[in-house]
């Protein structure tokens, strides 16, 4: 009888432990990160940057389930998404996104609008070790800071901790099996994008100013050269004329003297 009771107690404990473990596993805070890869396409629109983000969910999300952001999105940023609702902290910064309804695994899109000055740090990157791909339209330009851990690799910028396999897997998740190299893309993990973001117009404006100065100098130089050459040609014409008209007489005079 005693042995039976002990066996039943052990079985009950085992069952309890199993349920607790299952409950812990399925709780939102301890589940494996739901986002497998993310893409952020940045475009300048007036004085603000419009970000079109794509999240690839590796597993379904239940309604109300949260995905924490790697960095909070400060006040002044507006986020819209069909599937997600922004969750704000006491200061009003968006710290997480909550599923509006049950979301299937796969691609989900978000739109963010943020002032240009903050745009670099204002990307909806999930708090997860997944690879984030950041792409810039021609209206924007990104310059990484020294020691940012980003390396140039044949037309793309990749963080040191991202291996080629991880990058290619992220590309495949975002673009499909036949994903091709996205020239100019930046690959980082969880909010580690350090550098300067500026409008291409501002950047090109500085270069154009320098080139414009060079152009003015060269044009002035050409003008001066042309004047000198014209004088030289006029002189040569006079010499030629004199030689043609008076050549014989001059030779005769030279011989006499």
């Amino acid at each position: 009888m005693k042995r039976n009771t002990t066996t039943a107690a052990v079985a009950l404990l085992t069952l309890l432990a199993g349920s607790v473990a299952q409950a812990i596993e399925s709780s939102p805070s301890s589940r494996a990160p739901a986002v497998a890869a993310a893409d952020h396409l940045l475009e300048l629109s007036g004085a603000r940057v419009r970000v079109e983000s794509t999240w690839v969910l590796s597993q379904p999300l239940a309604a109300g389930e949260r995905v924490e952001l790697a960095r909070p999105l400060l006040v002044g940023s507006a986020l819209h998404s069909e599937g997600f609702q922004p969750m704000k902290d006491a200061r009003g910064a968006i710290v997480a996104l909550s599923a509006r309804h049950a979301l299937a695994a796969g691609v989900h899109r978000l739109q963010l609008s943020t002032p240009l000055a903050q745009a670099r740090t204002q990307l909806p990157m999930p708090h997860s070790p997944c690879v984030n791909r950041v792409r810039l339209e021609r209206s924007l330009r990104f310059e990484p800071t020294a020691g940012a851990g980003l390396r140039h690799r044949m037309g793309i910028l990749v963080a040191d901790d991202i291996e080629q396999a991880a990058r290619r897997q992220a590309d495949r998740l975002l673009d499909g099996r036949h994903a091709h190299r996205r020239l100019g893309a930046i690959y980082v993990r969880g909010g580690a994008l350090k550098g300067t973001l500026e409008s291409s117009k501002t950047h090109h404006g500085q270069a154009l100013l320098f080139i414009g100065g060079l152009f003015v100098l060269i044009s002035a130089g050409l003008g001066l050269a042309y004047r000198r050459l014209t004088r030289a040609v006029d002189g040569e014409r006079v010499d030629l004329f004199l030689e043609q008209e008076l050549g014989a007489d001059l030779h005769a005079l030279e011989k006499k003297s």
Binding site: R138, L183, G184, H204, A207, L208, I211, G212, L214, F215, I218, S219, L222, G223, A225, Y226, L229, T230, A232, V233, E236, R237, L240
Partner: protein, 208 residues
């Protein structure tokens, strides 16, 4: 004024490839080359003004942007072209090749200037044909410049100099100029009111 007209007249004659400047006037080829460069700037400015006809600010900016693209791309192309000439066609005088190059640039920009009134009119009156004509005039100008350059450099080829080598040098001039031009256009964009051609430079060509 007479000087300028004489110069322009001689440059137009040289576009045919047969005319050669007088050998007795040693400074004349250099004067023609520099004169061709300056005239090219003026013609390019006229085209720029017409290409920006839709917006006053763009038209005014184009007055220096387009000549800038033409002048700087030519200047950057010249050393590479001359080096190729030295390696592939020894015996061909650099000055002679530079004169052909300047005349080709002159002829290309002359085409642009000639089309300018039509371009300005179309930019004002047609949303579709204006940009098309803008891009079309650039393509036509490039074609004319290429033909004039190749014909001119082959016509001035000295005896004993390889024709193929001269062609390689001419191609090197053109390739270098086009490569530089593409990036300068990207830097100077916008030039046309409604066209995105080359505004992204080489990145646009490779990615799109």
């Amino acid at each position: 004024m007479t000087h300028t007209m004489n110069l322009l007249g001689e440059l137009v004659e040289m576009m045919g490839g047969r005319h050669r400047p007088s050998e007795k006037l040693r400074s004349r080829p250099a004067q023609l080359a520099v004169g061709a460069a300056l005239a090219s700037l003026a013609f390019a400015a006229v085209w720029g003004l017409a290409a920006g006809a839709g917006q006053v600010s763009l038209a005014l900016q184009n007055v220096y942007k387009v000549p800038l693209v033409v002048l700087l791309s030519s200047l950057v192309a010249a050393p590479a072209g001359l080096l190729t000439l030295k390696l592939w066609a020894p015996g061909y005088e650099g000055r002679s090749m530079l004169l052909s190059f300047a005349v080709a640039t002159f002829s290309g920009t002359l085409v642009l200037a000639v089309v300018s009134p039509l371009l300005a009119l179309y930019f004002h009156s047609s949303a579709w044909a204006g940009p098309m004509l803008g891009v079309g005039s650039v393509v036509l100008a490039l074609l004319v410049a290429v033909v004039v350059f190749i014909r001119g450099s082959l016509a001035r080829i000295p005896e004993g100099v390889s024709k193929a080598g001269t062609l390689v040098a001419a191609l090197s001039f053109m390739a270098m100029q086009l490569a530089v031009m593409m990036q300068l256009i990207a830097l100077a964009a916008p030039i046309l009111t409604d066209s995105a051609l080359f505004t992204g430079g080489i990145d646009q060509v490779v990615v799109e």
